[in-house]
Amino acid sequence: MVAQPPLEERRLVDALRAGDESAFTRLVEEYGPAMLRVARMFVSSRAVAEEVVQEAWVGVLNGIGRFEGRSSLKTWIFRILTNTAKTRAVREGRSIPFSSLAGEDEEGGAVDADRFLGDDTRFPGHWAAPPQRWEAAPEGRLLAAETLEVLEREIAKLPANQAVVVTMRDVEGFDADDVCNALDISETNQRVLLHRARTKLRRALEEYMQ
């Protein structure tokens, strides 16, 4: 059974179809910033990301007549955005593998292997150098503007597929289903990409907090 879209969403869709400019402005306000951030993970520059966002909105307008509400409006809009961004990335010579995890990076475990005790020890696989609690760092450090900059830089360094997934999940607060639907990837792929991304972001924060 297909769930009915919430009334609010149906009203917005109807208003948009009828050419209501304030409905359009509201949607741009609500999703535009997240679209720009996600688009930025696919393409080479901020300027190109803006073009992608613009192209995606034209796609939304041209497609809204056919929107059936089988996914949420948000998921549908982001599906258009990510498809537009993927196409643009390919044209830029950046192909971003989402469905195949092979070759994107060959890291083994989530944490450097030397953080754990080796097979020749009494407790192989247990912490040799356990993480130190961040609460020991000066108060407020974790939330300081500088910490956010560390994160921004680290996200920019991630392989694009990991950057897109962690941006959608953890920056923009999409749930796993939304991300799988928008990017057309399996739940497992989504989780592996998220895992790798979060692992690296934690490690970057750890280095910074020490």
């Binding site: 009828a18 613009q54 307008l61 292997a113 696989g125 912490w127």
Partner: protein, 82 residues
């Protein structure tokens, strides 16, 4: 996924996202949770992953620059059936 009765810290670290996403089967979740009870290193690690997620969620949204807003509005008016 089937894990031995006792799991290592390295395994917990590998499973942390599956654990937080609640996709482990009941037995494996129990193994992870039992491990977390006595292992300070892994509970610190799990807390830090949670803190990382929370801080990531505080990144500011990127504003739509006015020039782009204007372009979007122009595109809308061109499209608009009204």
């Amino acid at each position: 996924m089937r894990l031995d009765r006792e799991i290592t810290c390295a395994q917990v670290v590998d499973l942390v996202t599956a654990y937080l996403e609640d996709v482990l089967d009941a037995d494996d979740r129990e193994r992870v949770e039992e491990h977390l009870v006595f292992c300070d290193g892994c509970s610190t690690y799990l807390d830090q992953i949670r803190q990382t997620i929370a801080v990531t969620g505080r990144l500011e949204p990127e504003d739509i620059p006015p020039a782009l807003q204007d372009k979007l509005l122009a595109a809308f008016r061109e499209w608009s059936p009204a």
